[in-house]
């Protein structure tokens, strides 16, 4: 089999394994979803009850909830490797480590896309956002944001999973890195909901895409080093 095909097979096998583990892992992924929704609810109490203020802040609140949920998601995808010591086996398989990274990042991106997709209607209801015709740019934004977050999150989760104080190290490292992603995603969401009067959406989506590409390349290049002990 050619290198590329083997790499793709490896990545898909890993993504599939992670997806199965996620889906079957009792309520783990459901809990994350519920937690993110709770965060949205709590923002209502923190910033309300002025509905207008909440509606204005909605895009930012949505993405904060996605970020918090995302941190839990990428962390969990690596915890399942460490539970029974599977990570050591994973590091020893004769496969391209970039493919391992790709598989894990793919699983993370899909999980976060699902998270975002579920949170959109929650936000729409809680903060009275008329999604209407903007659903396509919104889903695109969520997808691009999910990929970017998963790209750097997979690398950082792999890095911190065997460290002391890993619960705090992952957010500590992730939050400054994803600040531009957060910024761009919120802008894109806001602009999309307003009907994009100035045609800015393209610029923000391109910025998100640039972040995604840079982080995917960086992650793929460095993940192999993180698997070694």
């Amino acid at each position: 089999m050619s290198v590329l095909r083997r790499g793709a097979a490896t990545a898909l096998a890993i993504a599939r394994k992670d997806a199965l583990s996620e889906l079957r892992g009792r309520q783990a992924s459901g809990s994350t979803l519920f937690f993110a929704a709770l965060v949205l609810l709590l923002f209502g109490f923190a910033l309300g009850p002025d509905s207008r203020r909440l509606t204005e802040a909605a895009p930012g609140l949505l993405w904060l909830a996605i970020v918090f949920g995302g941190l839990l998601t990428v962390a969990r995808l690596h915890q399942l490797e460490v539970e029974d010591g599977a990570m050591e086996q994973l590091a020893l398989y004769p496969v391209d480590r970039r493919a391992i990274y790709a598989g894990k990042a793919l699983a993370g991106a899909v999980a976060m896309l699902a998270l975002g997709a579920v949170l959109l209607p929650v936000v729409a209801i809680l903060y009275a956002i008329p999604i209407g015709s903007a659903w396509l740019p919104l889903i695109t934004t969520v997808a691009l944001g999910a990929v970017g977050f998963a790209a750097v999150g997979t690398a950082y989760a792999g890095l911190t999973v065997r460290m002391r104080a890993r619960e705090v190290m992952l957010p500590l490292l992730m939050l400054p890195i994803v600040a531009p992603l957060l910024l761009a995603a919120v802008k894109a969401t806001t602009v999309a909901l307003n009907g994009d009067p100035f045609g800015e959406l393209g610029a923000w989506l391109q910025l998100l895409a640039a972040f995604d590409i840079v982080m995917l390349v960086a992650g793929a290049g460095t993940y192999g080093f993180l698997l070694e002990d």
């Binding site: 029974d84 010591g85 599977a86």
Partner: protein, 259 residues
């Protein structure tokens, strides 16, 4: 019952005439923080031999096995497996070595069969070939009745059997086992002994650390005893070790430098 199918790694190019030693370790040392788990192990193992690795707890057996498996980089020393520099080209070594660590390394939410299918894919088996290989391996270790059950429900003994099955799905020239008999009942331990014999028969080099020393001693060609991170004693055939100290000061050679 038909004999277990054992898949062996093909000989490397240029090694048919003069096969290199399966393992050539020179002055391997490894520190964890402050303490030296290995303080300088130099040992050469001929291809096809079975070596029993013995010694008290904390002697460095697990550390040595992990370094041989390329799961851990030594702090100092050089290592060649089947003639390949394990520190410079570990990826080649990984295609030829199968390692059974302490931890069983399974995915709890997947079934035994799914775990093994995953391992088979990672080990290079194609989609169609993997099926029968996995089923045979599960059969060999006696897990066929529970193949569809989630590993989360497995006992320690069953997890161990599944880990052994994973070894059967590999195609190694060197098998490293760290306490394979642990967690197993009488039948399980007999299974391990059967597998050890089969690997030996087929010409695969085996290095096994086990507290069931009598069982292994019956099958092994040689015994390597470690103590305090160093080779304390050596007996048997097909193996050499350097029991002298590399230099007057006892200073080790930097990692990767071959003397």
């Amino acid at each position: 019952m038909p004999q277990t199918t054992i898949y062996v790694a093909p000989r490397l190019a240029g090694t048919h005439e003069n096969p290199p030693p399966a393992v050539r370790a020179v002055d391997l040392a490894r520190l964890f923080g402050r303490s030296p788990a290995l303080a300088g192990v130099s040992v050469t193992v001929e291809m096809g031999r079975m070596v029993a690795l013995v010694g008290p707890n904390g002697a460095g057996k697990t550390t040595l096995l992990r370094i041989l498996a390329t799961a851990l980089r030594p702090s100092f020393g050089a290592l060649h497996i089947d003639g390949v520099d394990a520190l410079r080209r570990p990826e080649i070594v990984r295609t030829r070595v199968a390692y059974l660590p302490h931890a069983t390394g399974h995915y709890d939410d997947l079934s035994a069969e799914e775990n093994l299918r995953f391992a088979a894919t990672m080990l290079g088996w194609g989609a169609t070939e993997a099926g029968p290989v996995v089923r045979d391996a599960l059969d060999e270790v006696g897990l066929t009745p529970v193949a569809r059950d989630r590993v989360r429900s497995f006992s320690a003994g069953m997890r161990k059997r599944l880990a052994l099955a994973r070894l059967l799905v590999a195609r190694p020239s060197l098998v490293l086992l760290d306490e394979p008999h642990a967690s197993l009942d009488g039948d399980g331990m007999a299974l391990v002994d059967r597998l050890l014999e089969r690997w030996h028969e087929v010409g695969i080099t085996v290095i096994v650390a086990s507290h069931q020393s009598e069982r292994v001693a019956r099958l092994a060609d040689a015994t390597l005893r470690l103590d305090g991170g160093l080779v304390a004693e050596l007996s048997g055939s097909g193996i050499q070790a350097d029991l002298s100290w590399p230099s007057a000061s006892g200073a080790p050679v930097p990692a990767g430098v071959d003397r």
